[in-house]
Subunit: 236 residues, 2 copies
DNA sequence: CGCAAACTTGATGTTGCTCAAGCTAGGTGG
DNA sequence: CCACCTAGCTTGAGCAACATCAAGTTTGCG
């Protein structure tokens, strides 16, 4: 099920400033913010697939997306989850190198490739800003390579929970986990069952508590931070 | 052992064009090529470490570098190997997020951060070019995430050998493997022993042949390409 | 309230890791 | 020039972490 062009709502209202423009001059930001189209996408809807023409670039306004790669036999690696302010679909080859899909209902701001390219060329500082954005994406990808290649399941889960907490920045350390166990597994290079078991283990150790199906409270963030980098976890 | 500033040889001669300028206008390229300093670094020398101030950016002119991240207990993930034309050390936070070390004797072209920043701001198209470079680094990192999270050891080794072959583009499919088994293991999320065993298995299957310690000939590239994505490898 | 999908837990299996012991090749000194 | 020596490579045996297969159990939705 693909998102249809018919789901476009309206041109972006003047107020919300594209997050990708952070740090740019005010008059140049207005050049960017007029170009995008707001668009709603329901949960579990594909936005595009690996190999598709990269006709559009999207900024997430609300909700959560995932993007992933597949092997021929169906094994899947989720490269990341994206929320408000994140950019997706920006390709320089013209072909998407991964698939993207809505985790929750999502609102996007869509830019056509042509108009986006024009912005890169004509808006002063825009290319440089995108370079900073992309550099941060790369840094995150490299952190994830360390996780996938060298961390054990407890370390992976601890790292994942802390990442969610850091993004949401809730004072009570109650985090929302909108994605399913299977998505978490495919993000961390584990199976659904191992994710379950490892989360259960953290519960029984009193480090986290399940508030509801999609809400987890971090009871001992310091311990979680130790576990995330493999310190003092000999006993587990 | 750190590389010393004393190893600087000379300003880059006029002839060699920085690879990072590929596709840029001729007159702007000359603005870049005058700024760098050539520098030799012997094998197994650290260039910088994670956490260091990112004072310099380097382009590899000759030889091979590796860059990696460590966990507190010493587990290591090599994020990549870099050869002629690759850029290393470009950070926007001012702090290196990984360590870098020479695999072979290496010649680098060094740019101070200050002068590099000036080029980004002043040379038309330079930020855009770096954006393309960084996008390709990101794409490679995402391929590697798929490998680390979801591929089996045979698929990892096959992918690795094909990557080396693609880079070197030798008509006889004889590839040079300058890095040690331990580096390969830390790049693929395996151990030295598993790398050895898996390479041995590919030899015994007649898919590759060892020419010398650091030279491997690909006897059946098609089979290797199947193995790399997990097709028809039920029997292994 | 019932149903299906997702989650959880348990039993068993397999891949790749750990530990251990040769082996080989390149560099050094006699 | 050759023997030695050491670091890295290779192979083997046993083991641990995680995957797979198989039941339950919970949850959210119609």
């Amino acid at each position: 099920m693909y998102a249809q062009a018919a789901t476009v709502i309206a041109h972006r209202p003047a107020a919300p400033i594209p997050a990708m423009c952070k740090g740019m001059a005010r008059d140049t930001v207005s050049r960017v913010s007029g170009v995008g189209l707001l668009q709603n996408v329901p949960a579990d809807t594909a936005l595009f697939a690996e190999g598709d023409d990269a006709d559009n670039v999207y900024e997430v306004v609300r909700g959560m997306l995932k993007f992933y790669k597949l092997l021929p036999d169906g094994r899947r690696q989720i490269m990341g989850f994206l929320s408000a302010g994140d950019l997706v679909g920006l390709s320089f080859t013209g072909i998407h190198t991964y698939s993207a899909e809505a985790v929750t209902d999502v609102t996007l701001c869509r830019y056509s490739r042509a108009s986006f390219d024009r912005l890169v060329d004509e808006v002063p500082g825009f290319a440089r800003r995108l370079l900073a954005v992309r550099s941060d994406e790369l840094r995150a990808a490299q952190d994830q390579m360390l996780l996938l290649g060298r961390k054990m399941s407890v370390e992976k889960i601890a790292t994942f929970l802390l990442m969610l907490a850091d993004r949401q920045n809730d004072a009570q350390d109650v985090i929302d986990v909108p994605m399913g166990r299977n998505d978490i597994a495919d993000y961390l290079g584990l199976t659904t069952e191992t994710v379950c078991r490892t989360v259960s283990k953290l519960k029984s150790l009193g480090i986290i508590r399940a508030i509801s199906a999609t809400k987890i409270k971090l009871l001992n963030r310091d311990r979680l931070e130790e576990l995330a980098v493999g310190e003092n976890n000999n006993d587990l």
